[in-house]
Symmetry: C2
Subunit: 384 residues, 2 copies
């Protein structure tokens, strides 16, 4: 029995100093229920993904109950889930199990995060709290870790910083078409290549900005969807893995392992997927995902960039939403927003950024760093 | 299809300044796998309950991956779950769904917490992070909230502080028989009644001490248990609810709502339960649970105390482990330790504190405070 998604919603992503976590969570939840045509009283449980509000606000525990208070859920179970920047997809992963186990017919998934703060040190501490402190990683930021990985790749395969700039420029062009993206002005590869260096070869305009936002999806059983005559999208695969130095020779392998299992679970291959949303916290993340997701052999990634394969209009469009480059990365919300974008694409509701005839979509959401590997990678495959 | 528990383990609960979170988590996990006769490579996923390590350590995210690193799980999915002091039972609730959904055959549940710190303000901030900050609750501690509730009860029904002392004395007598309890010296009701006042009528020896600890259980499918010829205990009910001012006229109703659903799910009544483990963070919590769990009518709770019904040897023994009074409340671990105790009881492995012939057990684990109600209550019913 597979679970279905019958409604999605999100807030605009960006800097929202005037909105509380609750404002954002409830706005996205209401939008998802409205989209589904589901009354809040029909929701049987909620799974809430948030990664960093403990350090940002001091409200360390029962964050979901706090942000959804007043929404009218009336005492249904609320589970708080965390997997760093993969918290959102992990929440969906659990909701899918709550539905397919038969325990619940209709589950609300909410991802919410506020990372922007006037006190920049607070945001930096919250982000650092997703990297395991070891002798090797002490003091390293995510961008420094990403940079080290892509430097190794560039040395092996001859990719250049321009490829990373081209990906960022592509995603910003996509984001210009997405009313939910916080950064909607297109930027050229040349502008990106002259923006300030963050960690060689990554420049500021290749790194996702710090933002706030929320996204929500309504997951339900097939009978529930049928009874409502809902426009349902099916969850064909939901796979979570943890990076592990023994299981994963390198970091790309973590994504590859999740993807292989997801394709098996969905009984399809990379060539069957019409649209991808991937975790481009730095544009290097998208570049390296092409081979991990079986779009090409390792080393051929830059060819996909050069040929425009992964741009809107190409044969395998990546991040039509604009990706994290255009939306930022409000960690708990990021993975849920990727799912919202896929659902819009698969229903033909994506407007100016619609991938024509999209029937199958894949989302890859990654988070945290433990023992020199991404701590959690979650891959979902959805089908119209 | 119901899920089964084939192994349990825990560390001693108490002050463990010399042990890391990882030490504790791995000690409990290894004990549970050894008890189950399951190799770590057969574990397909882990669900980790922790409520407060973000504020205690700064490692806000991917705590489960961090504490289980080096245990040999080899890249299986790890989900981090939080529901304040009900984090542990919530982790089991999710693991049960992961098994009954058919997604995994064998899931490790770990609850772990270190709350003791030389810097007492840090522990206080972590605990305060489980209470929603509102105008009404601002600055109130859990014990003040518990005290206000039981004062209202005492005013209505004539219970006295001595009843609370008798419960604490009973649980400390039970705890004296439990090698895992941190506080194993019996104390008399008179000693308890002369210990320092925390929040009228609660005295220090009616309130659980601040401790560290970990507990783990191995949850699996019935076929998995059969293949291993395991001594399995069945999860007959797993119910989570959130307190809600609209759904719950008073706080006792939150527990009552969870219990009613759990009895339905298990197809049995309170009279069929041989042994109870309940959340006596203050002894008032146990007193008030008697009616909520349908052992008596509201107002009759103190009669159960007077008659020794809920002591070892009584007809409905509560907290044979010694409860939170004897073990303390390492929040993420508390609910998992309750399950460990029930499994030992139902297998006849509980030694000097064995409830003779126990076949059915119930655990009630509660956490957090939102909108003036307990944020999460989780009730499990297990059967031999």
């Amino acid at each position: 029995m597979s679970a279905q998604i019958v409604g999605v919603g999100m807030t605009g992503f960006g800097r929202r100093p005037e909105r509380t976590l609750r404002d954002l969570a409830i706005e996205a939840s209401r939008a998802a229920l409205d989209d589904a045509g589901v009354d809040v009283r029909d929701v049987e449980a909620a799974v809430v993904g948030n990664a960093m509000a403990g350090l940002m606000t001091g409200q360390e525990s029962v964050r979901g109950q706090t942000v959804l208070r007043g929404f009218g859920l009336g005492g249904v179970p609320i589970v708080n889930v965390e997997n760093a920047c993969a918290s959102g997809a992990t929440a969906l992963h659990l909701a899918e199990a709550l539905v397919t186990s038969g325990r619940h017919e209709c589950v609300l998934v909410v991802g919410v995060e506020k990372l922007y703060d006037d006190e920049r040190a607070k945001t930096m501490a919250a982000l650092a709290g997703a990297v395991e402190v070891t002798e090797e990683s002490a003091g390293m930021t995510f961008m420094e870790i990403y940079a080290a990985r892509v430097r190794a790749y560039m040395a092996s395969y001859g990719a250049t910083a321009r490829h990373l700039a081209q990906i960022a420029a592509k995603n910003r062009a996509h984001g210009a078409l997405n009313p939910y993206a916080g950064f909607r002005s297109p930027v050229s590869a040349d502008e990106i290549l002259t923006s300030p260096l963050v960690a060689d070869p990554l420049r500021r305009l290749m790194c996702c900005p710090i933002t706030d936002g929320a996204a929500a999806v309504v997951v339900c059983s097939a009978p529930f969807a049928r009874r409502r005559d809902a426009r349902a999208v099916t969850i064909r695969a939901s796979v979570l893995v943890s990076g592990d130095r023994d299981a994963d020779a390198n970091n790309e392998n973590v994504v590859a392992r999740a993807a292989t299992r997801a394709y098996e679970q969905a009984s399809l291959g990379a060539g069957d997927v019409d649209v991808f949303e991937v975790h481009d916290a730095a544009s290097s993340g998208e570049l390296l995902s092409y081979a991990s997701l079986q779009l090409c052999a390792p080393g051929d990634e830059q060819r996909l960039v050069d040929d425009g394969v992964t741009a809107l209009g190409g044969t395998a469009p990546f991040n039509p939403s604009g990706g994290l480059q255009s939306k930022g990365n409000p960690s708990g919300a990021t993975g849920v927003a990727q799912i919202a974008e896929l659902v819009w694409q698969l229903r033909g509701d994506a407007g100016a950024r619609q991938v024509s005839g999209a029937r199958v979509g894949l989302a890859e959401n990654a988070g945290g760093m433990v023992n020199d590997r991404t701590a959690a990678v979650c891959v979902h495959v959805l089908a119209a």
